[in-house]
Symmetry: C2
Subunit: 151 residues, 2 copies
């Protein structure tokens, strides 16, 4: 392993945006029920117009938690080069009901959910984004606050 | 990418145990507050006597959520070769208060939390374990139920 200096905020933002735009990348998506039970699953992600787009069955725990609470916390990247996103649900829409969104999702993900009965796109708006690799990057990890890039 | 046949349950269990015993491996740890807010962080893991051991600050959201709810859901491994663990909290103990546990944690993790003020070991007992790589392994993914290996 090579060690390196902590990245500054601009580099972290550029790296985070590159990670989010990676073809066939997955996110760890955590959500919670109203009863306070955490759920966690890996899901393919598309990064479209500064939104995270997921495709899930409407009956999945993730869909149910997110449409009820409106919130999720996501991680993208390996555990020692993470992009953490706290996000709110902008909208949930059937996978066949927004052609441009479907095209954008299928262009980045390595599967195309269109035609899958009962599947939804969940469009999530980041409100906080953090990026760090190791302990020396904990300071300065928050690169978006309250929905605005701070770098 | 090479494709392969879906693994049978015994192979998944052996692979999962090997993953959990990997030196310097991290888990994605999701927990939830009583108010239904999900939290997610990467944490170094040790696998000791069929328990997941984490080391966290007692003031962290993860410690607070877990000691209140007694539950977490963890993921170990990359998104396309996952071990998912639903676990309950067996005990939380100061990092300097159980020498054998501290030795075991430090032997697997690549840091030693002993001496860190206010840090706890969270000892988690798996109740359900799932292991899958891609969509063709969704069937048969549950290899532990109700705290017992089913394979």
């Amino acid at each position: 392993m090579t060690s390196s200096e902590p990245r500054d905020g601009r580099v972290r933002k550029a790296d985070a945006l590159a990670t989010l735009a990676t073809p066939a990348i997955d996110a760890w998506v955590s959500s919670a029920s109203a009863a306070g039970e955490a759920h966690l699953v890996p899901l393919s992600l598309a990064w479209v117009d500064e939104r995270v787009v997921l495709a899930v069955s409407g009956t999945s725990l993730t869909a149910r938690n997110l449409t009820a609470s409106g919130r999720a916390r996501l991680a993208v990247g390996p555990t020692r080069d993470v992009v953490m996103i706290d996000a709110v649900l902008d909208r949930a829409i059937g996978v066949d009901d927004d052609e441009a969104l479907g095209d954008a999702y299928a262009a980045q993900a390595d599967w195309d959910p269109r035609g899958a009965v009962g599947y939804l796109f969940l469009v999530l708006r980041p409100v906080r984004v953090q990026a760090w690799r190791e302990a020396d990057e904990i300071t300065g990890r928050t690169i978006m606050r309250d929905g605005r890039w701070s770098v």
